[in-house]
Amino acid sequence: MTSSNQLDIVPSNPSDPSHGVGSVGVDLTAAYRDSNIDSLLDELDRELVGLAPVKMRIREIAALLLVARLREAKGLTTERPTLHMSFTGRPGTGKTTVALRIAKILHQLGYIRKGHLVVATRDDLVGQYVGHTAPKTKEVLKRAMGGVLFIDEAYYLYRPENERDYGPEAIEMLLQIMETQRDDLVVVLAGYQERMETFFHSNPGFHSRIAHHLDFPDYQLDELMAIGDLMLGQQQYALDADARRVFAQYLERRMHQPHFANARSVRNAIDRAKLRQANRLVRQGGTVARDELARIDAEDIRQSRVFAEEESAGRRVGGSRSDSNGHAPERDVAKGPPGTVDPPARRPADPPRSR
């Protein structure tokens, strides 16, 4: 590692007469400070809500790399740790975001030379005809060298139902690179938990090459609220007290509707609220105060079709959200807002395979 010479190496106890060459200590605190890793880890804590186990593991990995560097500086054998990972979780739970951060952190600690993230899906890796796959995969691997390769929905690489599929060719190359070029890149495989498990089961080579399995749970309501506040704050918007209450109601409803995508849905809801706020302000005309430009009020959120749906549904079946089978009542065709789907009461299962 290149920066090992920057480490502060001091005697553990200068006055101790017994200290010889072998007992010279390493100032861990100074090494930690000099690595500048603290600011990145703090940023991670500050800018990502929840995800305690994930953050914990990242701190552990940072500590491991720091100690590896110190060991190297002291001439102890240090095997380069394997850092290929798998991230499992539903959409919008922060997998891509965390991968971006990890790339920066690993770069800061000198584990990878660059620290960029290359996101790839099956289409980027697997070709359409004989001889098409290897160059495609190679191209992506080359781009990812020095950084982190993030393969989204990795299980699509393996499609046992089609025996002439070219996915296995890409898998083969990935496995080889993960083993022989650990110095050059870190591979992160991401996707829904259950399907990743099946994938690992039928491709044990991946499982054995992956050192860290991180699970990204769905966010709770309070976490979603905190994420919303964070996003609004970053964009210099704010909810007033009324709007906060309505937003919480909104999220609670939205959580149980189809296609709910955790933090991404929060982001989308905020984008739409901003749209309505702007529209409201323009319609209202006249002069607006600075804080009015920044404020999102309850009405901007209540206009969401999540509420509209509820209302129209409620009108038909007297306020009950769903029938005894747990199915949502039929949409009021005449009154229902366009483009809505029947909302099942339960969290939907994984969406059907699209390929």
Partner: protein
Amino acid sequence: MRITQGTFSYLPDLTDEQIRAQIQYCIERDWAVSIEFTDDPHPRNAFWDMWAMPMFDLKDAAGIMGEVQACRRAKPNTYIKVNGYDRRYTRQTVALSFLVQRPKVEPGFRLDRQESNDRVVRYTLHSYATDRPAGERYGDVE
């Protein structure tokens, strides 16, 4: 005769570490990097064979180093060079080009003199290697 062509050719051959650093230099300047090989090293031979495609949009030299190694494996007894092409408008030229492999034995060139009319003498460089068919010029039959 040790051929001197391209950048660094009066220096001892670059080590792989140095080659990697030069490639990284190209990448950081956003130059497209290509690899070429030939067994006809005449200085006027501008048409070397391409190895793979020119590479750009990369962040790290490792991928290109991999291609250099692959080319060496496939063409162990040829000249191989790495080019960095600067595509910026107004430059649009190869900005850096250097050898990364040469054959084990380099027989070099002889000078041919051709007597012409009116005591004119024309000179030409003749590569000993090209007396033999392509592919057999440096000992290896591919």
